[in-house]
């Protein structure tokens, strides 16, 4: 290989004149985490709502939930980002569209909305599967005790569901972090975009991408371990995922 390695490149000044290349990668990591965190809040909120709707005894609610999930699941994330970024500001009323286009950090907000809605369809699938996995008696007992349907969901079904679906939710959270890289197509300067920019300016392709890869792996490991602690805390006794705490003497 006649590739010229130069690992000292990270400490050199990047073209923005203030930060070293290493610092620009850290800034990118910040944007990646901020985008993923905000999108995850949207995904979890809407996903829980839609997932719950799909298990309710109303045909219209179930149909709405099904259409919602299919709509956001059957269009590639990249195309959805383009729709939110290029198409939506054009088809809303003119003044609102102009305001959207002039928003500072427009690509950040767009990425959060697009990624949040895209992931919410996947969260909805997990929530629905979780609710359906509960014994039918739980819902019946709650209703028989005089709880209203919303109360049944809020106090009985949802708390159990979250504890059961914690492992798949962890992998959806990791997917959210990874998928935030797609936002580089609408100009968000997140981690992958920073690595790409570093490659373009310094021509040190493999150093830039190695650094980004390592940062992603570290994020992955930290999130996985943190979530494993949470999973162990909330695991429901009596289910296969539950490990009894070590017996003390």
């Amino acid at each position: 290989m006649n590739y010229h390695w130069n690992w000292a490149i990270f400490w050199e000044l990047s073209p923005d004149g203030i930060h070293s290349y290493f610092q620009t990668l850290l800034l990118g990591t910040g944007w990646t985490l901020a985008t993923a965190a905000c999108a995850w809040i949207i995904a979890l909120t809407l996903g829980s709502l839609v997932g719950a709707l799909r298990t309710m005894p109303f045909a219209a609610a179930v149909r709405f939930g099904n259409v919602y999930v299919e709509l956001f699941r059957d269009v590639p994330l990249l195309v959805q980002m383009f729709l939110w970024y290029f198409v939506v500001p054009e088809i809303v009323p003119h003044a609102f569209g102009t305001w959207l286009k002039q928003l500072p950090n427009a690509s950040f907000y767009t990425a959060v909305v697009a990624l949040g809605l895209y992931m919410s369809a996947r969260v909805a699938e997990q929530v629905r599967a979780g609710i359906l996995s509960l014994p039918r008696g739980q819902r019946q007992a709650a209703l028989a005790l005089g709880l209203t349907l919303p109360q049944t969901y809020v106090y009985v079904l949802m708390p159990m569901t979250y504890r059961i679906i914690m492992p798949p939710l962890t992998s959806e959270l990791l997917n959210t972090i990874k998928n935030s890289a797609v936002a580089l197509t609408i100009g968000l300067m997140e981690l992958t975009a920073r690595a790409r920019a570093m490659q373009e300016f310094s021509f040190q392709v493999f150093e830039a991408f190695t650094a980004a890869t390592i940062i992603y792996i570290v994020i992955n490991i930290v999130v996985t371990f943190a979530m494993r602690v949470v999973e162990r805390r909330v695991a429901v006794p009596g289910y296969l995922g539950f490990k009894a705490p070590a017996a003390g003497h």
Partner: protein, 230 residues
């Protein structure tokens, strides 16, 4: 509301979008699925073997692919494939690789990690007694795998493999980041040439939606038909 829109641009660019763009997308999806399943199955067999020499590299590869964004991997391979080609052919210069070949290598190797996990689950779903019975009959490991375990594992996993193929089909749109003309790339080129972003991106979304929806409905139907009654 649609007074200012020029839907004729879609009609005019249909041949370009489908002959050039969709052909690329579908061909890439089909070949990468095939290659991904072959390599993925080999990786799964490695992960399930009993020697650390085989399990550790396979596990490391799969976990690496699964913890990095696909976009970053596309960039990696885009720059790496010419050097790998140079190393294999022992030429003096990095090999000139076409866009399609580069994308095909990227998608095959990336998706292999995901197909590996599916096939691993499929192989693990086969009762242990079948393996024992085959060995008791004197079958070697390749015969057992080829005639007993893998055919059943494939059959059990067909719906999951096809679902992964639909995901792969949607993922092909990401080749946009290296300016390759797949279906979305073609739509985006027309959109920028004619200044018709709204029409072209909406149309692209509708096409992806219709194909993915039809495919996932077919998979659900297939799943009901081929389910083994136990």
């Amino acid at each position: 509301m649609f007074a200012n829109y020029d839907f004729d641009v879609i009609w005019r660019s249909l041949p370009y979008l489908f002959y050039q763009g969709m052909t690329f997308t579908l061909l890439l999806t089909a070949l990468a699925t095939f290659g991904g399943i072959v390599i993925g199955t080999l990786l799964a067999l490695m992960r399930l073997s009993s020697t650390a020499v085989l399990t550790l590299p396979a596990a490391a590869y799969v976990n690496l692919m699964r913890s990095v964004p696909f976009v970053l991997m596309i960039f990696w391979f885009y720059f790496l494939v010419p050097y790998i080609g140079q190393w294999i052919t022992r030429s003096a210069q990095p090999l000139q690789v076409g866009a399609f070949a580069s994308c095909l290598v990227t998608f095959t190797l990336f998706e292999a990690a995901f197909f590996c996990e599916i096939m691993r689950a499929g192989i693990q779903s086969i009762p242990r007694g079948q393996m024992a019975a085959a060995q008791a009959l004197g079958m070697t490991y390749p015969t057992t795998m080829g005639y007993i375990v893998l055919p059943q594992a494939f059959r059990n996993m067909v719906p999951v493999l096809l679902t992964q193929t639909i995901i792969l089909f949607q993922d092909t749109s990401l080749v946009y980041v290296i300016s390759v003309t797949d279906f979305l790339g073609a739509a985006s080129k027309v959109a920028e040439r004619d200044g018709r972003l709204v029409e072209m991106y909406t149309f692209a979304a509708v096409v992806y939606f219709v194909i993915s929806l039809a495919a996932s409905r077919t998979v659900a139907h297939l799943q009901r038909r081929i389910a083994i009654i136990r």
